[in-house]
Each structure stands twice: as structure tokens, then as C-alpha cells.
């Protein structure tokens, strides 16, 4: 009878707590979003599964000695996984559109207002009972507005590791929702005529420009913002591997096998942070709400900046490309292209929107560096 009792006590059924069951359902929700709705499946699938694993009672996945514990501490706590992913993103990024039209960097900069405005929102949420965000927490939440998954995870792991699960879920969910969140804001802030604007064709960019560009960006980061060099440095390394043309094997590995392997572990590691104690609270709701606000403000400020530039500059600029300033490569650029095509079927904005789009990646990495330098110390 004793052994039967011991056996019963070692089953999941005997040990389940309500929080664990709810978190497993959250994990299943993430699996549903990734499989049925195709929301950022590359990350949400392992993340959802990680959430289920970490909440299994008596299995100890996230305790010392458990698999997810080591994955988290080896790759996310150290910041290694998001940085390797950033290198892969660098190897996938083509800066031609940006180099051909450098003014679009201003759009990438403007869209970062979403990050800094959300800081205020996060601090204001402290008025809600049950929520207590420090400036570090607020900064880590605000970076969701950068619409850049690896950057958000990197910064959250440095500034607010206890909020990492909720921040990563919010960042990736909203990135998947870009085609739903952005178009109404873009239409509301632009006139029909502005959306119809066709832009001049971009000039061809030479190879030497593309090779020197990542080195120049790295040099500037070294001079002005060393705290951003982990992100920007890995990004530039990936991009240099791509553009130099002499290490195609490394470039291919960085943008395929390496980034894929890392994504599996990053997803699992983030999933391990989705435990009931860390996730089931009012703060998570606050983070989810702030994430949507951050995205919307980023989109709006990018569009408004593009409108202003269109009025001030001799060259015509379609304000829709401003929305692509919120990184989320290449989804945001595709959205700008799609909304442009609705207004004018002959208007192909994709290449023009890629400029602010990759500028947004640089912009959010710079913003993350600033937050690290000012708040992280």
C-alpha cells in the first residue's frame, strides 16, 4: 500500500498546482498561435513547448540540474543566444536600400520614439495596485517597441530577467501582429494622396560601399556607444561576412544552420521563464498592454516623421515607409508595400521601405545600448 501511495505521489496528477495547469494552457495557446495561426512559429513553437516542459510538476526542468535551467543560464542569462541570432540577422540583411537613400535612417530613428514613450507608460502603471516597475523593468519593457526579438531578449536578460518571459511573449506576438496593428494607424495618419506618392528609383550601390558600411557602423558604435557593441558588433560581423563575398560558407551557416539551432534553444530557454510565479500576475497584463502601445507609438512617429520629411524635402517620400522604421524585418516593409498598393496599384514601396526597416534594426540596437548605458549601470 505504501509503495502504491509513493507511486501516486510521483505522478503529475498528484502534484499539479493550479498555476502550473494555467501555464501549460498558456504554452498550448502559444503552440496554437504558432501552428494554426502561423504567428512567428520559429520562436513561439519552442517557446510554447518550453512553457509546457517547465511547468511539469516534479520533473524539475527549470531547477538546478534540469535541462531548461542550463539552457537558460548558458545562453540567455549570458546573452549569447540573442547575440548569435543577431549575427545571423546581420548576415541576412541587405543594406543597399539604406545606403542608396540614407535619409531613411531618420525614419528608423523616429520610430524609436515608441520605446522611449513607453518608458513613461511603464512608470505610470505603478499607479495600478499590484504593479511595481523600477526604471530597469520599465526600460526592458519599453524595448518591445523596438519590434526586435533578439534585442528585447538581450536587454531584458540584462535589466529585468524576472520579466523576460512576458517581454519575449509580448515582443514576438506583436511582431506577428504587425500586419494587423500597423495599417489602421498608417491610414489614419496619411491622406489618400500621400499614400499614392510614387518614389524615385534607388541608385545602384557598389560593393565597396556595402563592405565598408558595417565597418563604419561598428567604428561609430565603438566611439560613441560601447554599450551597444555586443549587439551592433555581432550584427556587423554577420553583415560583413555576407557582403565581403569571401566567406560564403560562414555567411550561409550564420543565416541558416546556426540561427536555426540557436532559435530552438532560445525558444526553449525563454519558455523556461514562463513559470506560473513569474507569469501569472498583473504585471504581465501591464507588459502585454504596454507592448501594443509601444508598437503603435513607434509606427505613428515613423509615419509622422516621413510626412514631415515629405513636406520639407524636394524629393517625394511616401509617408507609409515611415511605419517600416519599427524594425520587424521584413514584415513591416511588406505592410508598407501592401498599404501603398491599395492606394495605388502601380506603387511598389517594398525596396524603399527596406531602408527605414533596416535602419530600425540599427536604431533599436542603439536605443538598447543607450538604455543599458543609462539604466543598466
Amino acid at each position: 500500500m505504501d509503495s502504491l501511495n509513493t507511486l501516486w505521489l510521483s505522478t503529475g496528477l498528484a502534484n499539479f498546482e493550479l498555476g502550473q495547469v494555467i501555464m501549460m494552457l498558456v504554452g498550448c495557446g502559444l503552440l496554437y498561435l504558432s501552428i494554426a495561426r502561423k504567428f512567428e512559429p520559429l520562436l513561439l513553437l519552442p517557446m510554447g513547448f518550453g512553457a509546457i516542459l517547465t511547468n511539469i510538476p516534479a520533473a524539475g526542468f527549470s531547477e538546478v540540474g534540469g535541462l531548461l535551467h542550463y539552457i537558460y543560464y548558458a545562453g540567455i542569462d549570458t546573452g549569447i543566444f540573442p547575440l548569435i541570432i543577431f549575427m545571423g540577422v546581420g548576415a541576412m540583411t541587405d543594406f543597399s536600400a539604406l545606403i542608396a537613400n540614407p535619409k531613411t535612417l531618420l525614419l528608423g530613428a523616429a520610430a524609436q520614439f515608441g520605446i522611449f514613450a513607453t518608458l513613461f507608460g511603464a512608470i505610470a502603471l505603478n499607479y495600478v495596485p499590484g504593479i511595481e516597475f523600477t526604471l530597469k523593468d520599465a526600460s526592458a519593457i519599453a524595448i518591445i517597441g523596438g519590434a526586435d526579438g533578439p534585442t528585447a531578449i538581450f536587454l531584458a536578460s540584462k535589466l529585468a530577467p524576472e520579466l523576460l518571459g512576458a517581454i519575449a511573449v509580448a515582443a514576438y506576438s506583436y511582431m506577428a501582429l504587425v500586419p494587423i496593428i500597423q495599417p489602421p494607424i498608417m491610414r489614419a495618419l496619411t491622406t489618400e494622396d500621400e499614400r499614392k506618392i510614387e518614389m524615385a528609383q534607388l541608385r545602384p550601390v557598389t560593393k565597396i560601399e556595402k563592405v565598408i558600411f558595417p565597418l563604419g557602423v561598428l567604428m561609430m558604435t565603438i566611439f560613441f556607444l560601447p554599450s551597444a557593441t555586443p549587439l551592433v558588433g555581432m550584427f556587423c560581423l554577420g553583415n560583413l561576412m555576407r557582403e565581403s563575398g569571401v566567406v560564403d560558407r560562414l555567411s550561409t551557416t550564420a543565416q541558416n544552420e546556426l540561427i536555426n539551432i540557436t532559435t530552438i534553444f532560445l525558444g526553449l530557454g525563454v519558455g523556461s521563464k514562463l513559470s506560473s510565479e513569474a507569469f501569472l500576475n498583473v504585471e504581465t497584463l501591464g507588459i502585454l498592454a504596454l507592448g501594443a502601445v509601444a508598437f503603435s507609438i513607434g509606427t505613428a512617429s515613423g509615419v509622422l516623421m516621413a510626412k514631415t520629411m515629405n513636406k520639407l524635402s524636394n524629393e517625394q517620400i511616401n509617408p507609409l515607409i515611415g511605419a517600416a522604421g519599427v524594425s520587424a524585418v521584413p514584415m513591416a516593409a511588406r505592410v508598407a508595400n501592401k498599404v501603398g498598393l491599395e492606394a495605388n496599384p502601380h506603387n511598389f514601396l517594398l525596396m524603399h521601405a527596406m531602408g527605414p526597416n533596416v535602419a530600425g534594426v540599427l536604431g533599436s540596437a542603439v536605443a538598447a545600448g543607450i538604455l543599458l548605458a543609462l539604466v543598466g549601470g
Binding site: L98, I99, P102, K103, L105, L106, G108, A109, Q112, F113, I115, F116, A117, L119, F120, A122, I123, A124, N126, Y127, L135, A138, S139, P204, V205, T206, K207, I208, E209, I212, F213, G216, V217, M220, F224, L225, A359, L362, G363, V366, A367, I370, L371, L374, V375
Partner: protein, 91 residues
């Protein structure tokens, strides 16, 4: 409450400093692209090579797109021209 006010002031400073820095950083990058990169592009005659390779690439892709039909089309056109010429010559 004082604490909250302090937080708001800090957040405001952070926002101001952050936005100024992001614009300054990316502004310098624009300057870098417009001066250094533009000059490099002019000095090194890469751009002359680029259009020709582009045209080649386009031709290649056009061939690739049409696949196996392409040689047949060429042959058909060639045949038509030949026939036209001979017919034209005869009349």
C-alpha cells in the same frame, strides 16, 4: 508620490537623452554614407561593373525563367528570320 515624481523625471530625461542620441547617432551615419561611402563609390569604379553584371544577371534570370523553351524560341525566331530573308530575297 515623491518617488513616482522622481521616476517620471528620470523617465523623461531618459526619453530626451535617448531620442537625441538616436537621432545624433543615425544622423552621423547619414553624414558617413553621404561623404565617405559616396566618395568611395566614385573613386573605385565598381559602379561601372555593377550595371553590366546586372544586365548579365537579368539575361541569365530571363533565360532561367523561360527554362527549356528559350532555345526553342530562339531557334523558332532564327528560323522565321531565315525564311523571311529567303522569301524576301526571292520576291
Amino acid at each position: 508620490m515623491d518617488n513616482m515624481q522622481q521616476h517620471f523625471i528620470e523617465a523623461g530625461t531618459l526619453m530626451l537623452a535617448g531620442m537625441v542620441f538616436v537621432f545624433a547617432f543615425l544622423g552621423i551615419l547619414i553624414f558617413f554614407i553621404n561623404t565617405v561611402l559616396a566618395r568611395l563609390a566614385i573613386r573605385f569604379p565598381d559602379p561601372i561593373v555593377t550595371p553590366t553584371t546586372r544586365i548579365n544577371k537579368k539575361n541569365k534570370s530571363a533565360n532561367a525563367n523561360s527554362g527549356d523553351i528559350s532555345p526553342q524560341v530562339v531557334a523558332a525566331i532564327g528560323g522565321a528570320i531565315k525564311r523571311y530573308r529567303t522569301e524576301h530575297g526571292q520576291t
